[in-house]
Assembly symmetry: C2
Homo-oligomer: 336 residues x 2
Amino acid sequence: MNIGEIARRAGVSRSTVSYAISGKRTVSEATRRRIQHVIDELDYRPNANARALKEGRTRTIGLVIPPASRRLTDMQLDFVAAVVDAAAHADLDVLLSPSGGDHDRSFERVVTGRRVDGVILMEIRLEDARVGRLQQAGLPFVGIGRTSHPDGMWWVDIDYTALIAKCVNHLADLGHRHVALINRSAELVAAGYGPAHRALAGFKEAIRRRGITGVDYCCADDSAAGEACLQQILREHPEVTAAATINEAALPGIQRALESAGLTVPGDFSVTGVAASHWAENFRPQLTAADVPALDMGAHAVSLLTECISDPDAAPKHLLLTPPISLRGSTGPARR
Amino acid sequence: MNIGEIARRAGVSRSTVSYAISGKRTVSEATRRRIQHVIDELDYRPNANARALKEGRTRTIGLVIPPASRRLTDMQLDFVAAVVDAAAHADLDVLLSPSGGDHDRSFERVVTGRRVDGVILMEIRLEDARVGRLQQAGLPFVGIGRTSHPDGMWWVDIDYTALIAKCVNHLADLGHRHVALINRSAELVAAGYGPAHRALAGFKEAIRRRGITGVDYCCADDSAAGEACLQQILREHPEVTAAATINEAALPGIQRALESAGLTVPGDFSVTGVAASHWAENFRPQLTAADVPALDMGAHAVSLLTECISDPDAAPKHLLLTPPISLRGSTGPARR
DNA sequence: TTGTAGGCGTTATCAT
DNA sequence: ATGATAACGCCTACAA
């Protein structure tokens, strides 16, 4: 079922059908209706590939996600959902590419196959070969996250440094003198994962500023690790009275460890951090935390990408978000 | 950068370049090397769209997911991840379409735009217009889930009827005489969501068989609803000593309600059901449950789809899984 | 062993 | 207001 068949049945030329569909030139009402009738009857839709070939653009964006083998965190999933929804809203299709390492067939296909007009890249490392690859290929892209030298690229990101510093300040204001940072996994830190490094930097700086002591721990992205991690903190640093975390998947485990240690929140121990609101609200009491506006960020990423596609030579734009910390019930004055 | 440019620079014809790449006819070692050299130098890759247009197939599959506005459950996310990974493994790209209702632009684009060779459809209702739409379009597709008349389609599904019956039997064997089913949301039931209806059917049938009493409740897909739901059960049916659920997102709330009611698991109250192992293992004590093999199912769906694409006229194949119930710690003898 | 040419389905530039 | 025709980039029968 192609445009020629429609043209034949409607007794017109292919170009007339094309124009009748696109409306890019006037078609007499009579023939327009005749054509539309045939189209409806045969349920014809233009072949998107042929159109893309001719027009030089695909109306499709690529979304590079971490491979599923590593279970995605809720926040990552929120990003994916947000991007997909925002793209659908803009009548863009989304081609998914699960790609972890530096070299990956799926990623290469997306980058070099001219199947997408642009790419949204998630889980960017401080040094990320994929960024270079995309730049070299001249493919417009927007990062959800940024490298250590982010000036030359488009991105949206969360200011983990500032947010964790805010958390520490909040705890210090409440009289806590010994606080812990529960970071993401050691593997991610070793891989140069930006949020982990930036959160740590913000933590250390705030600790120094406030003249309090801090310990930081890596923790895998699951509740069992969270439980073990908090137990370890309580064991190795019994003086610690509060923790800040960017590891939302560890929260249920943190909660369990506190319960089984007989510590109440926030009476005996305060917890705060950066998390999707969904996780924060599932903590008991609900978590005082900076709510990551994942939906907004995904939408922003799509909108930046369309902008960057339509004008690839424009100066890169950035969006560094510092969402407010929602005061809920998990932080309180330090126990004496 | 197209094949003609490569040909020009290598001093050969375009067809020779094409054959050098595909290997579908012999090319002298000398020219092959010369061509490869130019390709490497310019980092040329064939335009996937042009290739798809010529070959009549896209090496891409569509994955129709629920819209993100409704937050995806963990199980759904596992399916998505599994499908994407399995597809990447088979060198297939995945085009995502978030589509809820019967009519949706994104879905229509996927179905009629000839951008995909086949489709994997998630969250199928007992009566699902999208199934008819795909059949009418003649596009190969595989359901993760099935309609009420599933013979004419390819699908993989979980036998919720059998699994919930098994759960009830297990509880009855332990001496429970009054059990509850915590189902998915009333909206999903009203929409004819298969698992909810089939689980309810299995529940009622098993109740009848064992001569015990059962109550069933709908519950939204979040922990707050789970908490409220279990509280309601305890209030309205204090005789109930056990619950089975297919609503994994409700589990944390169920746990909280039991704790605040002062009930221990499994001493005072048993809990079982169907859940992703990840949720089951996060329950305390860990949940005796049928673990949904989402990864396997996703992989199976992709493999069925490739089969169905390569032979669209083959008789539809099905896969109805009844994963074993993993005995963990959340079920025990009924309290007296 | 290599080159020529036609066509996949569309859109856009001419021309009528 | 409409038609013929030439691309878009690739693959592949046919010819040499």
